[in-house]
Symmetry: C2
Subunit: 308 residues, 2 copies
């Protein structure tokens, strides 16, 4: 057996710096997690208070060596982030990402920020920042379709370990707008447990798969049903969630009509909702651990970028 | 020639009291407009400051007889309005509306509020308040499909002068949410003239007609195109408007696949946008004057309700 490892054995810090959250791991040479921090100091907060100080503070708290290099993915590399890491273009390999990593100048430690990926060809412009690292951690050297649910859900095609194309759906944001800011806010409660009303959720997914063209009508019908003394808030919220996620499924079924291997990278409630929706849409899928995947993707990039 | 008529010749006041606006006309026995007032004192304002005082103030300013009866349609009859006028149910005739009009008690003049219409059958719950009066003013005793664009667009089926069914689409509200409150607000400007970019608008309508299932993806693509240095704000705004109105058209085409006579009841920019969108969707239509129609509908109801 290997001896237990301490933070001083870490070969790099792996950082996933999103819009509204920050996750940092100390990784050993074999990828073992030797320390972890999570905070709400996402890109939006750090742009105000300073990225370097936040990162150094967390690494010091973890007992990391002051010279430990850090590899970063996510919105820290956006134009409004720490230092812009210009997009790699599809098709993008793990090597493209590692060689595109931007050095942050003027720090005591070596920090490199990985680029996002842009799709410019084919009349379907799209961008991602952070998800590419999860995807390459999940599907290095293989073929897969990776589904990453969220505010801006992504469906990513991987061929031979390279990201060949992807599609972002505004699913989570549209649900939040409708539930919180539209006339439907009187009929729904996004704090409720959608999965307590599985039938209503599934009926929404089915309705959108069957007739996505009726979406704007079905949304108003939720309000009308409330006025006419119909469904309660939990049922209406679940139906709304099903309609919106079902609309994503309808699009994904058009884009990925085959029976490819779908990897669902998610956790918690979203994992449950998307598992149910993928099933209704007839997709064969397996759930994958997105956290472990982003760490694998970051470590692979660090090995190349820092010649570990 | 008939002698010129004065406000004292009016047989009733015709009132369209919506959520955010109020329109009042004095109508002669033949429907001639003998006076008109428009204000922003919609139901939301009037619920705070008092409906009766607002109506009396406008009628006095118009020189109307203090005993002139008033017929009212719209949100003044909602639960949160002046006095609730319970919905008539489909199929609903002009007579059903007139006999369902609710007398407002305790006023010096006779005021009656017309009911809205509810659709409870067929698993497609829907409601309207105000549009029914426009529709019956447009299509009394005839067959038609009436399209009423707006925050909540409505497509209303009329057979033999009765409202037999209808479908509300959350089109205008969804556009406003996306343009003003989503990540797309960085890429669009809803104050711009959408019709200055007719091709972009039409391309959005076509895209939604062709693949409504890709709506959530196409919305994000507007943002991605902006980040990748593509379209300008006017073009993006027009494309967004086209995508959302096109999604309504896709639904309407499913619900009304035949070549029925479509009456488009609208004015101004919305008339232009919907004329363009209906054309792209292959609908044959004729434009109709919604203001004249609501006056006709109100006068017909007043004749019956007040035995004029």
């Amino acid at each position: 057996m290997a001896a237990a490892q301490s933070p001083k054995d870490a070969v790099c810090a792996a950082v996933d710096w999103g819009t509204s959250s920050l996750r940092i791991w100390l990784l050993g040479p074999d990828g073992a997690v030797l320390g972890e921090r999570r905070s709400r100091e996402g890109m939006q907060v750090a742009a105000e208070t300073g990225f370097a100080a936040i990162l150094d503070g967390h690494l010091e708290a973890l007992g990391a060596d002051p010279a430990l290099p850090a590899i970063v993915c996510g919105m820290a590399g956006a134009r409004q982030g720490w230092v812009e890491a210009p997009y790699a273009e599809t098709p993008a390999s793990p090597g493209d990402l590692a060689t595109g990593a931007i050095l942050v100048e003027g720090l005591s430690r070596e920090v490199r920020i990985l680029p996002g990926v842009a799709q410019k060809a084919g009349g379907r412009p799209d961008v991602m920042r952070g998800e590419e690292t999860i995807v390459l951690g999940l599907a290095a050297e293989s073929d897969a379709i990776v589904c990453l649910p969220g505010t801006h859900s992504k469906w990513v095609s991987v061929e031979g370990g390279r990201i060949t194309g992807f599609s972002t759906f505004m699913t989570g944001e549209v649900f939040a707008l409708l539930a919180g800011h539209s006339i439907l806010r009187h009929a729904v409660d996004s704090g409720l447990d959608v999965l307590s009303e599985r039938d209503a959720f599934a009926s929404g997914v089915e309705a959108s798969l069957k007739a996505p063209d009726l979406t704007l009508n079905r949304l108003f019908a939720l309000r009308a049903a409330g006025l006419l003394g119909g469904a309660g808030a939990a049922e209406t919220t679940a139906r709304l969630s099903g309609l919106v996620i079902g609309l994503e499924m309808a699009g994904a079924r058009r884009l990925h009509p085959g029976s490819e291997r779908i990897l669902l990278a998610s956790s918690g409630t979203m994992l449950d909702l998307y598992s149910a929706a993928l099933g209704v849409a007839g997709f064969a899928f397996e759930a994958a651990d997105a956290d472990a995947a982003v760490r694998r993707g970051l470590l692979a990039a660090a090995r190349q970028a820092f010649s570990l």
